[in-house]
Structure formats: C-alpha cells, structure tokens
C-alpha cells in the first residue's frame, strides 16, 4: 500500500540545516499495523506528516497504492487525504466549538455525504466507540479517554484505508490508553492499515512490526507477529 524509497526532508533555519529524514525507505502492506519508534527528534513526526500528505518530502519517492504522490499539489493531496486517510493525534485535536456529533460529522460534510446518511453513519460509529450518550457534549466536557474515542471515531467515520496515529495514548492514563489501543487493533482486524508513532513499548506491542528510527534513518525492524495478507 505504501512504498517509500530514499525519502529525504530538511529543515533549514538561517544558519543550520537539519536533516529530518535521511534516505529513508520502507514498505507497508495493506492491512498491516506498523509502529514507528525512536527518540525525540529522530524524524518520526516528520515521517508521519509526509505519509499523511500534510507535508512534502524534499527528495525520494512515495508511492501510495502504486501512485507517485511525492510531487502532488495541495489540492490533490487534500483530495487523496479526505478519501483515504484518517488521523489520530496525541492531543486529540477536536474542534472546541463543535459537539461530539458535529466533530465526527465534519469529514463527512467535507466529502459531500448527504445529511440523512451522515446522521446514520455518525451514530453508527459513536455507538461502536461507546460514546453515543455523549454526542451533544462539547470536547471540554469530556475526559481525555472519551476525547480520544471521539477522535478515533472521527478518523474512521469516512472508512479510510489508512489510519495514521501520532502517539494516540500519550495524553491518556494506562487504562484509557489500553482502551484506545484495543480500538485500533479492532479496526486493524477489520482491514484498516495503521501506522502509529509511539514512545511506548507497551503500545508498540499491539502492532505487527516495529520500525526503529534514529537521526532520520531506519535502524532496525522487529517483526512481532507474522502478518499474512
């Protein structure tokens, strides 16, 4: 599903040029659950931004479902994003002015789904995440665990092929964290590809494979469980 080769990314300030990604290459198959680990500043987030089509690489190739997307402009990227990708963030990134229901509904509005269908799909996913009873609340009124459930609900409501999770349990206590990881595993079992950046060895164990990074490069790769297509 994803194939990157010699991916490069630099950040330049006035006098220092920092290499964030240094000729990074790997592949992720459809249905796989991959964890990316490494110390702060190793390039994990940069990688996730590029995989999520939020940022452009400075060099190398990025094939998404066999199509080269490295040179895409913002409009093409946005289009690809809204139909194929779901995001889960450490800090949830819910919109404060919207209720739980409205937050989850938002991606459907952007992809032009009709109101009746939207309602049905949002309720379905809220039910599944166990937060239906909170649908009229605003994010500030929820606990962290509940907020992340809403975020996951929002990420999956559009049935994305790939979910990108950036330390999804970073702001949660262990019990809530486990709940979220169970949710992700469940989604993965249902066929959704997941790439997750994490600091937590515990969380990483939920994945099929761990890619360890240092200074913008892949150092090792541990296969935890055999992924069969």
């Amino acid at each position: 599903m994803i194939k990157i080769k010699d991916l490069e990314k630099y950040y330049a300030t006035e006098d220092v040029k920092t290499i964030a990604l240094n000729k990074l290459s790997f592949e992720v198959k459809e249905g796989e659950f991959v964890a990316v680990m490494g110390p702060s500043g190793c390039g994990k987030s940069t990688l996730l931004n590029i995989l999520g089509l939020l940022d452009d690489p400075d060099g190398g190739s990025f094939l998404f479902n066999g199509t080269e997307v490295a040179g895409y402009n913002e409009r093409k990227r946005a289009n690809l994003r809204k139909h194929n990708l779901g995001f889960v963030f450490q800090s949830f990134n819910l919109i404060d002015e919207l209720t739980v229901f409205e937050n989850v509904e938002l991606p459907l509005i952007y992809t032009g789904v009709k109101p009746a269908e939207r309602k049905q799909r949002v309720e379905e996913v809220l039910e599944k995440m166990g937060i239906m009873h909170r649908r009229k609340h605003f994010p500030q009124q929820l606990s962290g665990g509940q907020q992340q459930r809403v975020a996951v609900a929002r990420a999956v409501v559009n049935h994305p092929k790939l979910i990108l999770a950036d330390e999804p349990t970073g702001n949660l206590d262990s019990s809530n964290g486990n709940d979220v990881m169970d949710l992700l595993t469940e989604l993965n079992s249902a066929g959704t590809t997941i790439i997750m950046v994490t600091h937590s060895e515990h969380d990483a164990k939920y994945s099929h494979r761990i890619i360890r990074m240092l200074d913008g490069q892949k150092v090792t790769e541990n296969i935890l469980s055999e992924f069969t297509h």
Binding site: E97, L106, P107, Y110
Partner: protein
Amino acid sequence: MIRNHIKISLRNLWKNKLLSSLNLLGLSIGIGSVLTLIFSVYAYYNADSNIENQENIYYLKTMTTGGDSYSQTPYPLLKEIVKASTEVIAATHIQGWTQPWLEYGELDFQEQTDYVEPEFFQVFSLPFKYGDPETALDKKYSIVLTNKVSLKIFGEENPVGKIISVHDTLNLTITGVLEPISPYSAFRLGVIMPTKLLEDIPSFKARANWSDSFTMNFLKLRPSTNIAQFERRINDLVETNYSNPTTIAAIKLMPFAGMRTDSIPVVDTIISGSIAASIFVLLIVLINLLNLNASTMFHRTKNIAVRKILGGTKRSVIIQFCIENGILVFASISISALLFLGILLPKLNDIYGADFGKISFTVAKDYPVILFAIGLGLLVTLVVGILPTLRFISVPISTGIKGKIDAIKRNFFVRNSFIVLQFSIAILFICVAIILNSQIGFMKNADLGFNKENVIIGNINLEYKDEVSASASFNTLLNKLEANPYVKTYSVSQAIPSDYNFNYTQFYDPETDNEIRTRYARTDQGYLKTLEIPLVMGRDFDENLDKDEDNSVIINRTAMKALGWESIEGKRLKGKESGSPDYPVIGVMEDFHYQDMQNAVEPLAHLYRERDAIASHRFLSARVEKGHEKSVQQQIATGIGNIDSRREYKQEFLTDKVSGQYRLIEGMLKTVNVVALLTIFISCLGMFGLISFMAKRRVKEIGIRKVLGAGVVKIIVLLSKDYVLLVGIAALIAFPIAWYVMNAWLAGFAYSISIKWWMFALSGLIALLITSFTVGIQAIKSATANPTKSLKTE
C-alpha cells in the same frame, strides 16, 4: 454546510464574549456615525437631483477690479444676453424685492418671495405637484407655491385656480404647486411670482438700471456652447452698456452645481470634512476588526489545520470567517441604524438644521443609503474575513497542527502599524478639535472695535400696518428711553454688527475720480455712541445739522484709505448714476468688525437717517446699565407691542448676535469633537481587546516572571510600554498633518490664531492618558493575578 458555518460562528462569537462585544460596540458606533455623515453628504448632493441637465445651467458672477466677487448683476443684462446669442435655451432672473403680505380668506402670511421670468421652470425642471410648469408663470398675475406653503394654507387640497391677494390690492391666481424641495437644495423658495409684477413698482424701476447690481441670473445653455466665447460676448455687453464698466473685471459663467458651496463657503469644509471623517472612522473600525480577528487567529491555527486534515478547503475556512464576521457586521449595522435614526440624525439636525434645514430619512427616497450600508457591510465582512485568514491559511498543516505560531510573528509589524495608523487618526482629530476650539474662542473674544456688552438689540422691522401712527408711537417710546436713567445711549439703524445687509454701492471722489465699492447703511446720531465706536476725525451725525441733509456720510478708516485721503476736509462723494447728489463726508469712524472674523473689514459708509423713520430702520439698540437689562427690555417690548404690526417683535443681546455668526463653525466643532472622541474611543476599544488578548497569551510568561521575582509595577510596565510607545509614534505622525491641514484652513480666515506647540502637546497628552488608562486596567489585572494559578493555565 452553511448552517454548520453559522452555528460554529455563533458559538465562536459567544466563546470570545469580550472581543465580540468590543467589536459589536465599536462597529455599531462607528458605522452609526459613518451612516449619519454619509447620509448628510448624500442628502446634500442629492438635494437638487430632480433638476435635469444641471451641467448646462450657469449663473452669472461679477468679478470686480477690486478683487471682490458677487452673484448679482444689473437687471437689464440678462435680456441683452438672450437677445445677442443663440446658445441660450432658457434664462431667468431670481431676485427678492419685497416680501409682501399675502392674504387668503382670513389668513395673513408672509413667505420668502422670489421674482422670476416665465422661463424659470424651463431652466430648472422642478417637478410640480399641481399645475403645469410650461405655462405657470406666463400670466403676469400668477403665483406658484412650494409644497410647504401650500400645505400650510390649503392642507392637502389642490389650490390651483384659487386667488391670493397681495397688500389688499393685487389678486394673484395660484397656477402651480411644487413637489417638496429638499432643505439642502440650492433654492430657498417660498412663493414664486413673475418679474413683470415688479416692473410696476417705481422703486424697482428706478434701480433697474445699468449700475445697480441686485439680480441673480440663470441661463440654460445648449450643450455645444463654447463657454469662453460666450463669456467674452457677455463682457462685450458689459463694456457697451454698464455705466461703470471700469470697475468690473469680468462677468463669469459659473456652473449651477457649485452655487451652494459658493454661497456658504463653510459648506465645502463640512462636506469634505464629513467624507474624510467617515473614511477615517471606517478605517479605524476596520483596523479594530482586523487586529482583533488576527489576535484570535493564534488560537485558530490549530483549528484550521485540523479542518484541512479532515478535508476542509481554504475556501471553506474563508467562508467560515466571513460568516462569523458577517454576523457581527450586520448585527452592528442593525444597531447602528437604530443609533442613526434615534440619536445621531436628530443630533445632526440640531447642529445644522438652523442653517440648512432639517433632513429626514425615508426608505422610498433614501434607499441608496440603505444599499450603501449593505454594500459597506459586505465589503467590511469580506475584508476582515479574508485578509487575516490569508496569512494563517498558508501556514503548513504540519506547523499549524502543533499550534506553532512562530511562523506568524511578522504579523506584529503589520498589527503595530495598524495601531499607529488608528491613533494617528485619533490624535489628528483631537488636534483639529483643539485648534478649531481656539480659533472660535479667538473670534468670539477678539477686540471687535466696538463694545458688544450690555447692548439690547430689538428687531423693529415689523411691517407696520400704519406707518404714520407707528412713527408717532415709536417716538413716544424713544422719549421714554431718553428719560430712563438706566439707558445710557440708544440708536436706531438699518444695520447692526453681525447683520449688515449685502448692500453695496459705488462712490467716487469727484476731485480725483478715485472709486470705491462700499457697503452702506443708514443710521441715526446714536449709533457710534451706543456701540462705542471711536471717531477718528470729523464729527458724528447731529440731528440738527443733518436733519435736512439726508446725504451726510461717515466712512470707516478702510474706506478712507481706499480713497487715498489724508483728511476729509471739504471731501464729498458722488454716486455713479447720473444726477447723483453730493454726499458730504463729515466724519471717519475707526474700523470695527461689522462682519464675522472670517472676513476682513471692508469699506463702509453710514448715511444719516432720523430715528423716528421707524419703517426704514431695522434695529433699535440700547446700551443699558448692567443689571437693568430686563426692565429696559420690558419697556421696549411694551412700547413696540402697542404698535400695530404684522410681525412679532423680538429682541436679543448684541453678544448673542455676535456669537451667532459662528453657529455654523461651532456646529462643525461639535461634529469634530464627537468624531475625535469616537475615534479615540473606538481605537481604545480595539487596543483594550488586543492587550487583554495578549495578556492572556502571556499569562505563563507573567507567571514565570513573577515567580522569578518581578513586581507588579514591572509587569505593568512590561505589558504597557509597547503600546504607549506606539501612541507616541502615532502622535509624531499626526502632528505635522494636523499642522498642515489646520494652517490651510486657518488661512481662509482674515483673522486667525497661530498654531502653538501646546495644542499638539495637549492632544498628545489626551491620547496618552486615555491609552494608559485603557492599557493600565488590563495590565494591572494580569499583573496582580496569582502566579500559581496562571502557571497552571497553560
């Protein structure tokens, strides 16, 4: 989608309650005043819009070799022009002569009366409510009424065909009623009658010569007319026909559209000032919105990034902002409409109504103003919705999602420039207000060359029904005044300082042939004594010496200078008309300001007239002992009240009459004061919003600083010093502009103050104080907050 946007907008506005209400307040007041100013400008420019082909209508203006100009010419000129040219489509005089008392049934009334040619309504296509403009004035004994007069006399009834009688002798048939005329029109019409009526009056015939200029002339010319050539032809006619052509430099064709500003020069200042003020107020309001919007944007970078990740487009983000601002702007417009109709328009009418008439707002007539307001609202919405968004929308998603705002730091420069611009405008208005104030104070308190204190002025121009008995009763009153120990001196005259008619005449010195154009008025022997105007040489009028000599003249110093005289020994003046008598010059009075201080003292001649000729005088003035004004006023009022007259007697103090001359400029001052207050107030609203926002953003910084030992004062200084500095810079920008503008304006006054440094210092100080106060409130609040609490907040 739109519903979603509106919902979020409302929640956002509610969430930022402080900013939203500051915005709402600033916008409502700002737009309300802009609406008022724009409406008055609109009403002004639109007042004569129903007159077609205005660009082809001209009036004649006389320029004298002495540098004067006036809009009157001798009466026969127009006829000669029409005779000598093919370009004239229609031409008419407009002149007042007498304002006769009109009678209809039991009603006795007097209105502004203008005498015009039958072609008047071909020159000016004023719409008729009743009657036919083509033929309305064809017959000699006809009269056309304005709507106002018609309503007053006949109500809603159509009065065409009814008879109005004049002085119990003439019967005039009503041939038309005009549609309502805007109070801002160039015309102040009451009733209109044909000039032919005047030609029966001997005193008119005597002055309808080639030397007396008293009539205004209007010409509608073919569009193809070569104006320069046409003017030359008029001036040829002047050359051949005028009895004193050497005093005339030129007759000019002036466009009718410019006539109003020509007749009241302050109007120009008021109109351009209103437009400038509207633009400035709008600018300040706009900057407030932009700044306050931009400041909330910091919160929103993350929000925008999330939306973009979820598939939101730039367009949808911009639409969201536009809707949010649109709600605010149009809510403000609704509030400002109420402000405009309920408070500001009535206030405007209070200020200018006396000079220009009161204007009113009706949807049917003034819908363009509503369209303007809506258009303005849309424009403001788009500008404040799009501009700040553009800066933030281009922030990369990967940066925005972290809520990083470093990328937007450069914005501070833009924002600071905006603040400087706002405060420059505010300080500019404060400067203008201060200088305007000083000039008015100067004019009101200047040494006028006469003593205006403790002088009662009675208006005795009352249309007495029986002049002989009136004169007798008046004499009785004067004798009583003579005997009243509290009346020091008194006088009866045709003019009074601040109210000298535009009566000009041409005199020449038969010895040297030197000519002067001078104002003249008739007074009695008490005038100079009552007003305490010093006599420079010669003698004052004397009842016994001048009684049979109707032509004794006292001139002012300026007139003597203009004639090139050193002394008046044996001097006399002669009028330009043939058979003019000699006018022996018996005295020279010191120059005094008989007009307002905007104008320099012009040559003036007083001619003697005995005081009991009540019907030919206009004023009775009495200098009274301080503290006895009331009793003397009562005595005069009773005396005059006993005389049978058509008008009501009114009296006032000379001081009030003199200050009354500056009513219009004082009106301007009031407007400027309001605008100055407004600009500083709205600017401060914006600054208050900004600083409370910045303080919120710096809560953590303030907390850390306090933990590290910074005192409250230090924190206050930290938060305020930038803003105070910005206001300082704004002052430095505003001062030279204010100096330049006000110097140019003061140049229009013959007597003006010089601009002093303290005026700038004062305005800077006012701005600084208000700003410090605004900033201080918020700074103190932040500085005194508990640091442990604020550190947790982040």
